[in-house]
Symmetry: C2
Subunit: 434 residues, 2 copies
Amino acid sequence: MSMHKDTLCIGIFGLGTVGSGILSILSQNEEVIFQRLGKRVYVKTICIRDLSKRRLFNLEGVRVTDDPSVILNDPEIDIVVEVMGGENPAFSYIKAALENKKYVVTANKEVISKHKQLFFECAKQNGVDVYFEASVGGGIPIIRSLKVGYAANKIQSFFGILNGTTNYILTKMDEEKQAFESVLAEAQALGFAELDPTMDVSGMDVAYKLTILAAAAFKINVGIDDIFYEGIENIHLEDILYARQFGYVIKLLAIGKRLSDQKVCLKVHPTMVPIGHPLAAVRNEFNALFVNGNALGESMLYGKGAGSLPTASAVVADIIDIGFDTALQNSRRNLEIEFLQENLVPVDQLSSKFYLRLSVADMVGVLEKVTAVFGRHKVSVANLIQRENDRGLAELVIVTHEVAESNMNHALGELRNLFEVQSIQAVIRVGLDE
Amino acid sequence: MSMHKDTLCIGIFGLGTVGSGILSILSQNEEVIFQRLGKRVYVKTICIRDLSKRRLFNLEGVRVTDDPSVILNDPEIDIVVEVMGGENPAFSYIKAALENKKYVVTANKEVISKHKQLFFECAKQNGVDVYFEASVGGGIPIIRSLKVGYAANKIQSFFGILNGTTNYILTKMDEEKQAFESVLAEAQALGFAELDPTMDVSGMDVAYKLTILAAAAFKINVGIDDIFYEGIENIHLEDILYARQFGYVIKLLAIGKRLSDQKVCLKVHPTMVPIGHPLAAVRNEFNALFVNGNALGESMLYGKGAGSLPTASAVVADIIDIGFDTALQNSRRNLEIEFLQENLVPVDQLSSKFYLRLSVADMVGVLEKVTAVFGRHKVSVANLIQRENDRGLAELVIVTHEVAESNMNHALGELRNLFEVQSIQAVIRVGLDE
């Protein structure tokens, strides 16, 4: 790596939403950044896929290429920024950059989730590092806080709202009493949701982010296939209204918990969050991470988790952080990561409180049959509402005490087979202190 | 500075609440910290004032002394931690440590507020640095976020709840409908408030913290005498109840704003915060900093702002952060601080919305006289409640539109001289978007 005492030389892969946000920040905040860092940040080269695409940006003084080697083999470039997204070719560019002893900054959750161990080892071997603040929670300094700000703590648990699209949908359903489908359509029309929203609403986006948090908070190396995740596709307006009635707001949470010294649970699912909890107040497209540390107690980081400028804000923060160190050519934070062997506890060995909404025949003895099933599987009822509807059916809404997931699964299986139970409309976990 | 590749050697000044919290964290979380940092943290020496005081801690393997030079002149000690509090002798110990090329970590708001420029210069000359995360907001990574996490941003404004004692008092008054004096007495009995609470309730504690935030966010060097601060001594239960009625919660805020490129406003005062704002939900002893950055938008950091372990959590985070760098013997973040010349705008040149509560004679024509005074000084009324009480007096509660502070002062002066106005019970600024 060539050293320029007063200039940081950057190459960027990708000039989409985040890439153009980076250029915008570096230009608009040039003086502020120089005051903080004591160096200039100079974008030398940008590599894009299709040179024929017109760019809104004034790229004077920047070389634009479609040949990755122009960046990867340039000895003058100190830091390679990858903001293309997706696993490939991002993976090979990051790997090659590290092998060429360049620091890497990426906003790419998928490639970090899948290849973090290889990247960390490769960085260590080459005396550089890979930074990925923007991959989780956009402009919120989540990774940096877990690695440094909270580093004195044993992290006991964390709960994250890490997907702006789904939080926006849940907020609108709650506040405007609209159905999932109509809010989603509106969000798509406004550009807040992708035309194919699967990645967001299925919980997969959050699952990628959770694996990255698990590495930063617990130093364990897992992929999304190792963890349980569930999306918000099956959240109905009725459940949001009942949740309010019981004192909860439904949020899609990434949850990480130490169960004991060698056991950890990681999961993503819609959760009924008590209305007084700070996470319940995180509205619309905002993200937040709520952390319990054994020294600091409860803490929360809140802000915009996506969008051009918030995400670019985190990328440029990583560039600045590296800039404090580049004169040094020395190992930094990730280099110390030796992943731990922790036992990930499968979700069916955990326990939780549950909210259930059943559609049942409106006839004598139904409640007895349902509670008999519960009795056989140690499901204890905390709250129950029974309400007739206009189709000769009744709605049975139940909040349970804490129960083993496996017991609940058996109970649900039996309920499905009961003649009197027409359908199980909703199964949602309740509370943060399972 | 002597270098031990795999050990960080520490000397600590002070073994009170924070000092013992540090020892507790270093012992309890030894393995977690080693995993994150890749080095052991070894407390070699602790300097205390009175060697005859008994200590609860098992200090085996630690040298305890009352001679500061044992730490300051020990070539093996890499980092000096100052957790005594107060300006002296902390000032001379920190200065001597920096001159002896030792990194310094301090939790001391007063000494940093007063001597930051000298410390930063001294650190730069000696190739080390001074870290002070614990001086503002306890365990919340506020300083680190302003210096690195948000470093890509021009900070437009910030609003901090930075004193746990006053936030606890205001929360209890609000939620339990108790008077200031009775909540304060209860807090003192529980140990949440000092027997002499002046530093907290007068706003001075927050003012010290605001000068530190001003350095980190705006790079300007001011002392508490340069800024306007007002405490919560004159907040009455009635005003808290009226605030709710108008949709606000009263919080003691540290406020920093860029007014234009060369102008900044810094002030501390009770503020009516809209109920939907994230700061309104910060209850009891919790602290928070709400930040507007020109790239990241709105962001908030939340957690415990005081107490042995939360404060020690920030001190140990600073030790770890330095530990990532000590092999390097290189300048870090503060070294780039060249304070800027910004014009601090005095509070009487600002404008604000105001809440007023007047005790007036219950007679015809009072309202006309009051509004005539308002008219002469361009004070425009947004909300007004007039209510009789049982002593032949009426209460006049007013929320104004935005008005120049100087105009409000003139209006208040004239109101005081009106025969019909018995007293001005409350003057509280309203809202965050002045």
